[in-house]
Symmetry: C2
Subunit: 117 residues, 2 copies
DNA sequence: GTTATCCATAGCGATACAGTCATCAAATCT
DNA sequence: AGATTTGATGACTGTATCGCTATGGATAAC
């Protein structure tokens, strides 16, 4: 068992698409606002400072990816996070990025030509 | 503590870029081959059935993202995974996708018009 | 020196997607 | 009914990038 099993093209495709949804800053910003709980489109427009059409498009992408859920009330549409996994993923990535920066800082510290005992 | 802290634009950007690296099927395929260990470019070309130029480009993207490390020996360039986090991330996403499909199957099963005690 | 091999990179065409503007549909209010 | 608000969608533009072909550069083999 020293060889890695080949992964089907479809699985690779789906995983790539999942990551693709998270690869847009505006979508991550929207998701971050949705951590506070359910929000309607207008609230997200005000929070993100972009056009309403743009917010709607991004919400649609995440909805179809199964990351968000949608509920309507009157003329308003309320969105909430349906897949909490995304927060775990973002947390892991943020931790890793932080570790890299800390390691980078350490490289600077290690360059002390005068060795302090 | 009922409000989510705003995340800086730069952090969001970096996280998005990290996910962006993982959002290409060809890169995921290459990473999957690299699970077996260090590989040179030529080996990856044969494994992925694409052009050598294409493989080199993808390797460069992942190298600059800090996901791979590079070592040269003669005329060959050997790449290996420098950030094992990607496998955790892929694993989490795969699990989630599998769960969804299982849930979908369950929806079909639940549609038994005749309730079997 | 010449040739062959391995890898990186520039140029190119095609495709995909973010963002904007304009419009439309549906529900609410006057 | 008319006006307003809310959200979704189509058309369009600019940008990014995937994959290909061709080329260059560096090392190894003849």
């Amino acid at each position: 068992m020293d060889s890695v099993e080949p992964v089907s093209a479809e699985v690779v495709q789906q995983v790539a698409e999942y990551f693709s949804v998270l690869s847009e800053p505006m979508r991550l910003r929207i998701l971050n606002f949705l951590r506070e709980g359910e929000k309607c489109v207008q609230e997200l427009v005000e929070a993100t400072q972009t056009s309403q059409a743009n917010v709607s498009k991004h919400l649609k992408v995440m909805l179809q990816a199964g990351i968000l859920s949608r509920r309507t009330e009157g003329t308003s549409a309320y969105y909430s996070v349906a897949d909490e996994l995304i927060f775990d993923l973002c947390g892991l990535v943020c931790d890793r990025l932080a570790c890299r920066i800390e390691a980078q800082a350490q490289h600077f510290r290690n360059f002390s030509l005068a060795s302090r005992s």
